[in-house]
Amino acid sequence: MKKENVRVIRLGHGANCSSIGSVIDTLFVTAAVGGAIFAALCAAMQDEPVRVIEPEEEDEE
């Protein structure tokens, strides 16, 4: 897995019920810390069992 293959990372669950939230701390960490987060996520993706979901078609609005 290369960094350029990752389009977006959204960390955590968030639990607000009115608007979507984005973790902002990662913008201010050093490249080394950001790299460590990326590496941990890549390791987790290799490690966790996979379940594929196949959504039904969405209605176009």
Binding site: M1, V50, E61
Partner: protein
């Protein structure tokens, strides 16, 4: 982990490390997976489902917050459990990852824990927001069944009262402490207003001391009871909006989220405005209404977001695709998407660049 293929690759939802990761097709292949039918066509063949849906499980609430976006009342409407279960079934079928229960005060429902279990059984991650008022042992036990619980907390005493019109800070603080003591992932929702902005550090320090692991900062929005002349007196000043970036940098010891409506304010921060790719990579986006986010009312009706009632979808889409200046030339346009449409509609009656964005106000 849960994998949902998209025409461009896949969303991957990690379970042990809570995160959503969007991978391109090569990234998916690196995991030994293939998108199959979803990748058959170059152009998208279907609209992507939301990542997160906000479900109003009740319009009942005794708190009476002055700015309640749902206009919740003690005798507000409450959908039957069967309706909510149908909604959860539908969200699971569509491949939604997270369902955020709100209201009204969700803990007024005796079946709240059962609804969380129902969501989990269908592969959805349930989270919930509460005022923290009246949380006894039975309600706390129900909240343990959620992946995360956020308590509305705008600050100690006067700061809380300045936003909500009553002093509920003590109850909120007891709730944060009690949930954390039970091992629940507990966060706080902090509404940024003229009165709370400059006290944010003290608010977050208090929340952290009580056991909160995360803070979600929210822009004050003109919806529900907040649609009033008072809105203009409570919203952030231009100077405060400009200081959001520096303020965020100063926060330590607590994971911080900003809501979609605060993203336009980052345009006033030269460093962040120059890094739209970084914002996108870390999932920091502006208006996600009707895309990554949607909502359902207590009647079960779909909305683009919890605040967006009566928005014209076609005009909305056209504005996001081709916003006028000063959005058109803004470096953050790809992530900001023109700012909060609910604010723009309230202040101008139409879709225009967010009138409270510092870049727009300076144009």
């Amino acid at each position: 982990m849960i994998v949902r293929y998209e025409h461009w690759g896949a969303w991957v939802k990690l379970e042990r490390t809570p995160a959503l990761v969007a991978l391109d097709r090569d990234g998916v292949r690196a995991l030994g997976l293939d998108g199959g039918r979803a990748w058959d066509d170059v152009a998208p063949v279907r609209k992507s489902a939301p990542l997160e849906v906000h479900v109003a499980v009740t319009q009942r609430c005794a708190a009476g917050c002055e700015g309640c976006y749902l206009d919740a009342t003690p005798d507000g409407a409450e959908p039957p459990r069967a309706q909510l279960e149908r909604t959860l079934d539908d969200l699971a079928r569509r491949g939604v990852f997270t369902v955020a229960f709100g209201g009204g005060e969700p803990t007024l429902r005796d079946d709240l824990g059962d609804l969380a279990d129902y969501a989990r059984a269908r592969g959805l991650t349930p989270v919930v927001t509460t005022s923290g008022l009246g949380l006894g042992p039975a309600k706390l036990a129900r909240l343990e069944r959620f992946a995360q619980v956020n308590v509305s907390y705008d600050g100690p005493a006067e700061a809380y009262e300045a936003v909500r019109g009553f002093d509920g800070a003590s109850a909120a603080e007891r709730a944060i402490e009690a949930l954390a003591a039970r091992g629940v992932n507990v966060g706080v929702n902090v509404v940024l207003t003229r009165a709370t902005f400059d006290r944010l550090h003290a608010t977050l320090a208090r929340a952290r001391a009580l056991g909160a692991c995360e803070a979600q900062l929210l822009r004050y929005k003109p919806a529900g009871r907040a649609v009033s002349l008072d809105y203009r007196a409570k919203r952030l000043t231009l100077e405060q909006a400009k200081r959001l970036g520096p303020l965020l940098r100063e926060i330590v010891g607590l994971r911080v989220r900003i809501d979609c409506a605060l993203v336009p304010f980052l345009s006033a921060d030269p460093d962040l405005a120059a890094r739209p790719e970084d914002l996108a990579q870390w999932g920091i986006f502006g208006c996600e209404a009707g895309a990554a986010l949607s909502a359902t009312t207590v009647d079960g009706a779909p909305l683009p977001c919890s605040f967006a009632r009566g928005l014209d979808a076609a005009s909305f889409g056209a504005f996001v695709a081709h916003p006028p200046e000063p959005c058109a030339s803004c470096t953050l346009r790809p992530v900001c998407r023109g700012g909060c449409k609910v604010v723009a509609q309230h202040l101008t009656g139409t879709f225009v660049p967010d009138p409270e964005c510092p870049r727009v106000r300076g144009a």
